[in-house]
Amino acid sequence: MLELSGVGYAYPDAGDAALQDLTLAVEAGEFVVVAGGSGSGKSTLLRAAAGLVPHFHGGTFSGRLRCGGLDTREHGPGELAAVAGTLLQDPETQVLMGTVRAELAFPLENRGFGGAAVARGVEEAALALGIAGLLDRSTHELSGGELQRVALGAALAGRPRIVLLDEPTSQLDPVAGDELLGVLRRVNEEWGTAVLLAEHRLERCLPAADRVLALESGRLAFDGSPEAFLERRPETPIARLFALAGRPERPVTVKAARAALGGVRSCDPAPDPPAGRPRLRRVRRPTAALALERVWFERDAAVLRGVDLRVEPGETVALMGRNGAGKSTLLRLAAGLERPSRGKLSTAGRVALLLQHPGDYFLHDRVDAELPHARLEAAGLGHLAARHPRDLSGGERQRLALEIVLGEGEPAVACLDEPTRGMDRGHKDALARRLLALASGGTAVIVATHDAEFAAAFAARTVLLGDGRPVADAPTAEVLGGGWYFATQVARVLGTRALTPEEGAAHVAAPAPREEIAVPEVAR
């Protein structure tokens, strides 16, 4: 289905090659996950398979790549679209037409299909993806998740033999991301469409995968089963839990992890937080860093409904809840971008707000024009001074934008809206460390996030919003431990309030003799 033989590629004016001597094959019906850090060549591989590299991007291409039997040196992306559906990262630029029906019809019309074939293809794609109800909706009205699903529909209309997906869930919340992956799995299983999926959040997509390809600096560093991949690189929370506990297994799914642990799973109360994570500070002080008293915010409908919230200096708070629960609005109110319709909001000083798209903060052509050298050096970004901000990786952009909004001197409150979307684990860990350092200096840190793993890594307290008001406000271990959706993977495996792999490992003993494991027992 996809065959690469000694493929190398360098973007125009780029010093280093993005792909180097890549030789691999993907068979029909395979579900392959492409893993690797930022800049490892995942996107370039997918763009090469779609024919965008080199036809659209230019640059220097060597070797041979055949996709669905078509050699990409002889066939451009338009011809390859007949055999390969492609879905890129940003839902907003993936949808081209005004209505969903027109969007699904567009690729079929481009292939010269007649009216009846187009109509049938549209209906089939809509039914397969569960978007039949959206067919006559305007694409301007769709949410990010719906847009990405429609874009996937357009990529799949005409039933390509392989579908290429470049971090399709990076801009989506976990619910929409999980739904999209569910759809992909169904398409793979029922239609036999091969899937080549690049993703950072491996815990989400490895359960569906037959095989993992890992790239490093444009080279193939691993090619094997998900289990073998996790054995070599325990990159999911479950694999890290088992590795830290000294267990030999590397389960891919929560179910397999529970089965492997057998009797170890328990319903213990929350363990003490480890020393690295600040304890929850709930002692009322005279001046809160941020205080909301019966705050309402109404636009067309009430977004926030009588919110009472007090955040002390130095507190680390994760703000969670489903889409539309009011998380972003609460942060915008705190930063003064919106005014409450009713109620009282006060802050102890400056509020720094990092919105969802870090690139929006950059106005200049060089990083050192955005931030003085001294601050770049202090933030560990000095080596990027001469670069253009738009050329930075996602994680580097996020760090630079964070330093820009933090400004001179420590703010009283730092608010971050979904900062981990599209970030690999290394950058997430670095961000968590930065936020904890900020909190230790007395800044209250509030992060709106869907990422339970990230919340567990940095927040001492979690506020769960539902329909515009806090429905739970407690230590993170209490809110995210024992939950089903609002829970970390480790908590789902262990059923305890241990949230992180490190905390979970303390609960999981080294493997006992087989006959002892077989005896069900609740560890206390």
Partner: protein, 290 residues
């Protein structure tokens, strides 16, 4: 501004006919000069927008166009040396020499501004009430290259509008206060750079959807509806009236050297005929999809 399907005769007409009607109305405005006739045509644009249930969108666009129309009127008053009724005498401008502002030049500037407003209104009506997907499909059947340009442009506009809102929010969140002229230039530069990135993303999506194969979409055969016929006849009648008015000298108006304006039947009849031709198709609500 974005298109949304509504239950009105203009929405029920096929996109090609609806677009042609809007374009003809704008062209008629460009072929006539009489202020009364132009005022009636502007009224027709607003009435059509109301009948198409897009009055708010069109009015908002016209409000943005008013400063543009005023600038046209003022520039004409400043650069035109014709007219006998001097309102402001002489200030010297290098190269251009002495400039006098005359009533006639100001009035003719007003006519030009009014024409510009009508054209803006027609464009807004087209954007709000004519299905862009169907129109794009029709354009692609004629010219694939034009279709690519139109596709990128139509998709890019709402994306850039959202980007601009986000960028403005980010700058407010940055807390820099009033950025001053240099800061505004930097913001404009960032928006432009972002627009190029976005255009590249949209173009890449067009590529992977097979747009560049050059195949024209298959013709969709459907019988002409009463609304297609109504708006096509209206457009033809408007075009005919516009040509006749220009050739036969109906609704005479001369700005220079002195304003000569007829407000009698020679102006009122063409104005009434144009209004009637433009608005009659909206009266037929039979067969409008609900």
């Amino acid at each position: 501004m974005s298109y949304r399907r509504r239950s009105t005769p203009l929405h029920a007409a096929r996109a090609g006919v609806g677009a042609a009607w809007c374009v003809v109305l704008g062209l008629v405005a460009l072929s006539l000069e009489h202020p009364l006739v132009l005022a009636v045509l502007l009224g027709c644009v607003l009435a059509a927008a109301a009948a198409a249930q897009v009055a708010r969108q069109v009015a908002r666009t016209l409000a943005w166009g008013v400063p543009f129309a005023l600038v046209i009127a003022l520039v004409n008053a400043l650069v035109t040396r014709e007219g006998l009724t001097i309102l402001v005498r002489g200030f010297n401008v290098p190269v251009l020499g002495q400039l006098d502002v005359t009533l006639e030049a100001l009035a003719y500037g007003g006519v030009l501004g009014l024409r510009a407003l009508i054209v803006i209104g027609c464009a807004a009506l087209l954007a709000a009430a004519v299905d862009p997907d169907e129109l794009l499909r029709a354009v692609r059947r004629v010219s694939v290259r034009s279709g690519v340009t139109a596709a990128v442009a139509t998709r890019l506009m709402p994306v850039l509008a959202r980007d601009a809102r986000r960028l403005a929010d980010a700058q407010r969140a940055r807390g820099a206060g009033d950025p001053g002229p240099a800061g505004r230039v930097a913001v404009l530069h960032a928006v432009t750079a972002g627009a190029l990135d976005r255009a590249t993303d949209v173009a890449a999506t067009l590529e992977v959807r097979g747009f560049a194969t050059g195949l024209r979409p298959a013709r969709r055969r459907r019988p002409l509806s009463r609304h297609d016929l109504g708006f096509a006849a209206s457009a033809a009648a408007l075009a005919l009236l516009g040509v006749l008015a220009a050739v036969e000298g109906w609704a005479p108006f001369a700005a220079y050297p002195r304003i000569e304006l007829s407000l009698g039947a020679s102006a009122l009849l063409p104005a009434a005929a144009l209004a009637l031709c433009a608005l009659v198709p909206f009266a037929d609500r039979r067969g409008v999809e609900r």
